[in-house]
Amino acid sequence: MEEALRYAGVGLVATAALTWLAADEARAIRSARVAGVLALALLALWFGAVIWVAPIERAQGIVQKIFYVHVPCAPVAYLGFVMTAVGGIGFLWRRDAHWDRVAISSAEVGVLFCTLILVTGPIWAKPVWNHWWVWDLRLTSTLVLWFIYAAYLFLRTLSSGTDEARAFASIYGILGTAAIPFVFFAVDLAQGKTLHPSNPAREGLPASMLVPLLLGFVAFACVFWYLFARRLEVAKLEARQS
């Protein structure tokens, strides 16, 4: 419980920071350069740590190192989904198209990271579980979330660029985020047991594994920041030219 609160706290801080950044579009776009440099530096550190610091796990062998690329994608994808709702609320409240661009940018980058979770997970699961996929809580709910936000992107490409279409998409973004806890509970109820390793902190990771993992979290957060800022700029340029 305490742990869940800690995760929620970190998530809230990250969402607040990103919301503050996105509130001023010019500031968010300008930050792309800083974010890009930071992301590259942290990615280099992270990759070095994965190669040299992280041990080769005894039971699973070297494939266990997929962990360091799979796990950091998750919070970043969630961040993207929550920011979609933030952008939606911002748009419905302020009627400023820039909040709608925040929503669409974060949804797109969030779906990208969610796709990576869904791709790297099975690649790890095949040698370790001997199945590409099992229907378990984490896997199923991640897949459902992917469908929700892929549908959001569909909705965006298929609807016109009017304010009404923007308001509708904002509502859908909010619906999606409101559904996340229910999806978890429902999948848990339907499938019960889980094979997926629990949250990393609970397993008491040794420092040699924790360091590359934490570096991964920070590095991927910066990658998200960079891609989000660039996507926001593209959306703004597109809006200005149409």
Binding site: L92, W93, R95, V144, L145, F147, I148, A151, F154, L155, L158, S159, S160, T162, D163, E164, A165, A167, F168, A169, S170, I171, Y172, I174, L175, G176, A178, A179, F182, V183, F185, A186, V187, L189, A190
Partner: protein
């Protein structure tokens, strides 16, 4: 006009349209019968082990049937340009949404009762072991489906490929409703106590989405 009266007016209008033309409801009833018959034949229900999969399948049959009706729930408005008038009502537009969702709810309840009856006839499902719980699951499930369905049908009404967009939007979000409702009905026909956690979660889900629908519709601008 005040809010509830707007909702009632919208509801009455939609019901009248449904009753006059009768095709929306009629198509849904025939479709539901077809799906249940298909399930009965393909599953070979004499096999006792098919029972476990039966209720979720009934809920999915109900979902597909509802989809047909929901997809049309804003068709009249978008085709006749009445949509703008509907949004321009000078009161809480949230009440327009509630009226629309209410009309869909009544239609879905009819379809649901019909599906339950078909299940009794063709699949030997016994609802009488815990009728209260079965009824509760039916009502809560139908509220969830009509709320989300009405909302998403409005969102996709003006988009291209809307008949394909609606299920893509609806299915992932409706998953919790199906799971909770199937859980409650499953416990009910097994004659066990009410699945309280599922019922609570489903009621909360309905409530959250009704609220988002109401507030979301309310915030639509006069375009």
């Amino acid at each position: 006009m005040n809010g509830p009266r707007v909702a009632l007016a919208v509801l009455r209008k939609d019901l009248l349209v449904d009753l006059r033309s009768r095709d929306r409801l009629g198509h849904m009833l025939i479709f539901a019968a077809l799906v249940v018959v298909l399930i009965s034949i393909v599953l070979r229900t004499s096999a006792a082990d098919a029972r476990g999969a039966l209720l979720p399948l009934l809920w999915i049959a109900f979902l597909f049937t509802s989809l047909l009706g929901l997809a049309r729930s804003f068709q009249a408005e978008t085709e006749d340009g009445a949509w703008t008038n509907l949004i321009l009502v000078p009161v809480d537009r949230g009440w327009v949404f509630l009226g629309k969702a209410g009309a869909n709810l009544l239609a879905l309840l009819v379809v649901e009762a019909w599906t339950a009856l078909l299940a009794v006839i063709f699949l030997d499902v016994d609802w009488t072991r815990a009728p209260g719980a079965a009824l509760l699951a039916g009502v809560l499930g139908a509220i969830g489906l009509s709320t989300l369905g009405t909302l998403l049908s409005a969102l996709s009404a003006s988009a291209r490929f809307r008949e394909f967009l609606l299920p893509i939007l609806l299915f992932p979000l409706i998953l919790p409703v199906l799971v909770f409702a199937a859980d409650i009905t499953g416990e009910a026909i097994a004659g066990r106590a009410l699945a309280e956690r599922s019922a609570g979660a489903l009621a909360l889900y309905d409530w959250v989405f009704l609220l988002i629908g109401y507030l979301g519709f309310d915030s639509l601008v006069e375009a």
